[in-house]
């Protein structure tokens, strides 16, 4: 029989339900895959017992002839940004090293309630700040992908959900949670040839998810295909009275609503997304994407999102501003790391704790955020960026008058080598150029694999939809998925 770790979420769910295999067999297979892939450094914590317990529960339900839960028997990976009861949760930062929450995040709780089990906590960019996973305090994740040029240069899995992207593409888990503040689900999904969706802001509760930038942070699934994303997103979404920004709207049955026909749909191509120096291969992929959606029955229209060029600067003001305040609680007083030099007073303890606990990129963003909020600069930076944000949201509103969904590349390049951009923060920030505008507008957006570049590395296409129209985004992505025939997978070298 096939290796169980080759199966996706739907196949596992259906197989467990039909008795093709037991949930325990599935959990054991993935547990073994996880422990055999430590070279990738995708997991910060392995929790094989959690996965086994959920599997045994699923098997028991089936044995009793009762109805299985939607994710019964499906083991998943959990980004370390989600607080998990009794399991260390660090946001890949030294400042939270050893922190073990007494509570379960709303999103992870929903997944456990749906029958899923946890294989472990996934590595990530520290506090979700980064696009390559190199800012993790516990070592970078290495992408399972290699260029086909014969060299063995280690590649970035993308970020910040790089542990999630690496683990799913390396078949260490059939699906994983990610979080997306400016592209942290979509860019790593594109880099590793998997699918990932950031739903509408407010779909998934932020309660118990360690905050980076509250007005932007949104959880979402990363999985091998569009259908698996739909299944997992359904389990993760829903109103939560404990999150004041949570949306009190019903969760649609996205899996059931999947439909790859785009007949009668208009797909917008935003002309401002044709950025300078974009690799030809990205341009060519985009063009193929246009042909595919046409083939699926869509009408393709060119649209304009005139404020796009201001999105990245606005994002890199708003996100650090919120982060500088959100991360103030890591002060060494109540939990996590404390550095108390001999004879230090309170201020000295704060300084020592935060100097030792936070990584360079986190410090950089705290400094930027503190600066843009400070007296005398607030209006020039934060107020201005907030206005830009409003204009960007209005751009999308205007676009919806002539189209139903937007098609763009996910990232301006394929995966880059580890270390290639880590000395140049601005070059790294440019990775988010296509993903940030929809984050600022709170819109659902998804990356789906479109093909490979000349080095054999995956490239992703992104769909951006109207608020609450995850179905439209999933359907458009499904149309691409059916036509792209993307079957490439990394060859196991680990």
């Amino acid at each position: 029989m096939t290796d169980l770790t080759d199966l996706g979420i739907r196949e596992i769910r259906d197989g467990v339900r039909d008795g093709t295999f037991s949930a325990r067999e599935v959990a054991e297979s993935f547990n073994a895959a996880v422990s055999n892939a430590r070279q990738l450094n995708a997991f910060l914590v392995e929790t094989p017992d959690h996965a086994l317990a959920a599997a045994d529960a699923a098997d028991a339900v089936r044995a009793a002839g009762e109805t299985l839960k939607p994710l019964a028997g499906v083991p998943i990976g959990m980004k370390d940004l989600f607080c998990t009861k009794g399991v260390t949760s660090t946001a890949a930062s030294h400042i939270l090293e050893g922190f073990t929450p007494q509570y379960e995040s709303a999103v992870s709780q929903r997944l456990w309630d749906a029958g899923a089990g946890m294989l472990g906590k996934l590595n990530m960019d520290q506090f979700a700040m980064g696009s390559s996973n190199e800012t993790s305090a516990f070592g970078n994740v290495i992408s399972p992908w290699r260029r086909n040029d014969g060299g063995n240069a280690p590649l970035a899995p993308g970020g910040s959900s790089g542990g999630s992207s690496a683990a799913v593409s390396a078949r260490l888990c059939p699906g994983a949670t990610g979080t997306d503040t400016g592209g942290s689900i979509r860019q790593p999904a594109a880099f590793t040839g998997i699918s990932g969706i950031k739903p509408t802001y407010g779909r998934c509760s932020r309660w118990g998810t360690i905050a980076f930038a509250s007005s932007l942070d949104q959880a979402g699934p990363m999985a091998r295909d569009v259908r698996d994303c739909a299944i997992m997103l359904e389990a993760m979404s829903g109103f939560d009275p404990k999150d004041a920004t949570s949306l009190d709207v019903p969760v649609p049955q996205w899996e059931q609503g999947l439909n790859a026909s785009l007949a009668g749909k208009r797909v917008g191509i935003p002309r401002e997304y044709r950025v300078d120096n974009m690799p030809e291969e990205i341009e060519a992929l985009w063009q193929r994407g246009i042909e595919w959606v046409k083939d699926a029955g869509a009408e393709v229209v060119e649209v304009s999102l005139p404020h796009t060029k201001y999105a990245l600067p606005a994002y890199y003001i708003i996100a650090p501003a919120e982060a500088s305040s959100n991360l103030a609680r890591y002060d060494g007083v109540r939990y996590g790391q404390r550095d108390l030099p001999e004879g230090a007073n309170l201020q000295a303890m704060y300084a020592a704790t935060r100097a030792a606990g936070f990584g360079e990129e986190v410090k950089r963003r705290i400094l930027i955020g503190t600066y843009v909020l400070s007296a005398g600069f607030y209006d020039a930076y934060f107020t201005q960026a907030s206005k830009v944000r409003t204009l960007i949201a209005r751009d999308f509103e205007n676009a919806w008058e002539s189209c139903d969904v937007l098609l763009t590349p996910t990232a301006p390049s394929a995966a880059f080598g580890l270390g290639e951009k880590s000395d140049d923060p601005l070059a790294m920030y440019l990775n988010d150029v296509f993903t940030v505008p929809s984050s600022l507008a709170g819109l659902p957006a998804m990356s789906v694999p479109g093909g490979l570049d000349k080095h054999g590395l995956p490239l992703g296409l992104q769909f951006i939809g109207k608020a609450l129209d995850e179905q439209g985004v999933l359907n458009a992505a499904l149309a691409i998925e059916e036509r792209a025939g993307f079957t490439a997978r990394p060859q196991a070298w680990w």
Partner: protein
């Protein structure tokens, strides 16, 4: 009152005062978490994950706290902002787990309002600039360990209203009158218990001085003063200090100061140069607060009659202005008195009785009005017995004493102890005849023109009647008998 002046070597100085009052909102739960708010609980026993700022925790506004602040705003005739927003005030301190206080800088819940005060004979309106809602901080304890400080987070996240006055006060006594009035309003509304000893209400005192008619001077802010008396003392000291500084050629530094209740003086805490940059910005965890008409209507409908309105009503009922003021100063007194009126007591007589007899008795036995052994219903019955002539004033006093001791109804006491007053003219006339017969000398003197002796005959008659004769009837009959 506006003629309060500090006499300086260079002439008279006027004092300009503004108060920022922090009032703890009466609510079972904190502003953004479900934790309890009771005073005096074990340290750190009323702390939720949110109050301790654990990773990933989020604030959710408590509707009751918002409601109380809106009702308070309505009680001072303020504009209620249907759209307001919470901002973060960022600074590091060990009593502030989040590293920021959730407050409202840019768009407060309540806008312009006013409070009418009386200082002596003068009535004055003090402007209120705004009321906003914010979180309280925790408390540091430095006396628990020789080298360590402890933190109690019970108060962390408790809802406060910050009530910011205009710089409209000109003397310590005006500031005192404003604070007392504000406290009374809060207690009538039920939005704050006004308990300054427990820290439910405290004031930041802004003081500056100027020569009358000149521009405002530079102000200082004395933080966290926690009684009316201390606020007045802090103003007096601070104003005099500023005059001394200015008259000796110095300049007032805009700074934050602390009041020392033991010495009645203030000292510098930090100057403007050291002031924090709080980096206020809208809290991204919270949506703007939008109030609908139904909510506002409910808030308005739930407001009780407020002190000023009640006082005017009492005066219209024939109660003296003095009594009306005394009866409305504390909400518990006013409630007790209103019940007494509801039981049918005549307003003027009842007001005299409460402010005289009842207050005196309560004072003597060391109880406040909420613990009074005599209920408003019993008091109404007693007053009715006086009004219908069953009891004389002195008999009423006797009955009241028994009521205080036993808690019995006055009718029962009168019945059991035979304390009923008599208006039986036949019986009284007989006693008068006897008194006149027994005191021929006095009678002769009276008839000789010494009319002051009338009181003597009243006393003798009442004594002979055992105090139960109706004094008015005694008077009338005596006059007739004495010719």
């Amino acid at each position: 009152m506006t003629d309060y002046r500090i006499k300086g070597a260079t002439g008279d100085w006027e004092v300009v005062i503004g108060l920022e009052v922090h009032a703890q909102v009466t609510s079972n739960a904190k502003l953004f978490s479900g934790a309890a708010t009771a005073f005096g609980a074990e340290p750190n026993s009323q702390v939720s994950l949110i109050d301790a700022a654990m990773p990933g925790m989020l604030p959710v506004p408590n509707r009751e706290c918002i409601r109380q602040a809106v009702r308070t705003g309505m009680a001072i005739d303020a504009a209620i902002n249907k759209w307001s927003r919470f901002d973060r005030k960022n600074y590091f301190y060990a009593d502030l787990p989040q590293g920021y206080q959730i407050s409202q800088l840019y768009h407060p819940l309540v806008g312009e309002g006013s409070v009418e005060i009386e200082d002596g004979e003068t009535v004055k309106t003090i402007g209120v600039e705004r009321i906003h809602v914010e979180q309280d901080a925790g408390k540091l304890m430095h006396d628990q360990h020789p080298t360590r400080s402890y933190v109690d987070l019970n108060r962390s996240g408790v809802a406060l209203m910050e009530i910011v006055s205009r710089p409209d006060m000109r003397s310590p006594s005006e500031a005192g009158a404003y604070l007392r009035k504000l406290r009374a309003i809060l207690r009538y509304v039920g939005s704050c218990d006004g308990n300054m000893e427990e820290g439910s209400m405290r004031a930041d005192v802004n003081v500056s001085v100027r020569k009358p008619g000149e521009e405002f001077g530079t102000r200082t802010e004395t933080k966290n003063v926690n009684s009316v008396r201390f606020v007045m003392a802090a103003i007096e000291h601070e104003a005099n200090r500023q005059v001394d500084v200015l008259e000796s050629g110095g300049k007032i530094v805009q700074e934050t100061r602390l009041f020392n209740p033991d010495t009645g003086t203030t000292r510098s805490m930090r100057s403007k140069e050291d002031a924090h940059d709080y980096r206020y910005f809208p809290d991204p965890d919270l949506l703007p607060l939008e109030l609908d008409d139904a909510f506002l209507e409910e808030c308005r409908a739930s407001l009780p009659e407020l002190p000023d309105a009640k006082r005017k009503r009492y005066e219209a009922l024939g109660i003296t202005p003095y009594n009306a003021e005394v009866l409305t100063a504390e909400v518990e007194t006013a409630r007790w008195f209103d019940t007494l009126l509801d039981e049918g007591a005549a307003p003027a007589a009842a007001s005299n009785w409460v402010t005289g007899e009842l207050f005196g008795a309560l004072n003597r036995i060391g109880k406040d009005i909420t613990e009074s052994p005599v209920t408003p219903g019993q008091a109404a019955e007693l007053l009715a017995l006086v009004a219908d002539g069953t009891l004389s004033g002195s008999l009423a006093k006797q009955v009241f004493e028994v009521m205080l001791e036993t808690g019995d109804a006055p009718g029962k006491i009168v019945e059991e102890r035979g304390l009923k007053q008599t208006s039986d003219t036949g019986a009284i006339e007989a006693v008068i005849a006897d008194v006149l017969a027994k005191n021929p000398n006095q009678l002769e003197q009276y008839r000789g023109g010494k009319v002051a002796l009338f009181g003597f005959f009243v006393g003798q008659t009442m004594k002979a009647m055992g105090g139960k004769a109706n004094p008015q009837v005694v008077n009338d009959l005596l006059k007739k008998a004495l010719g």
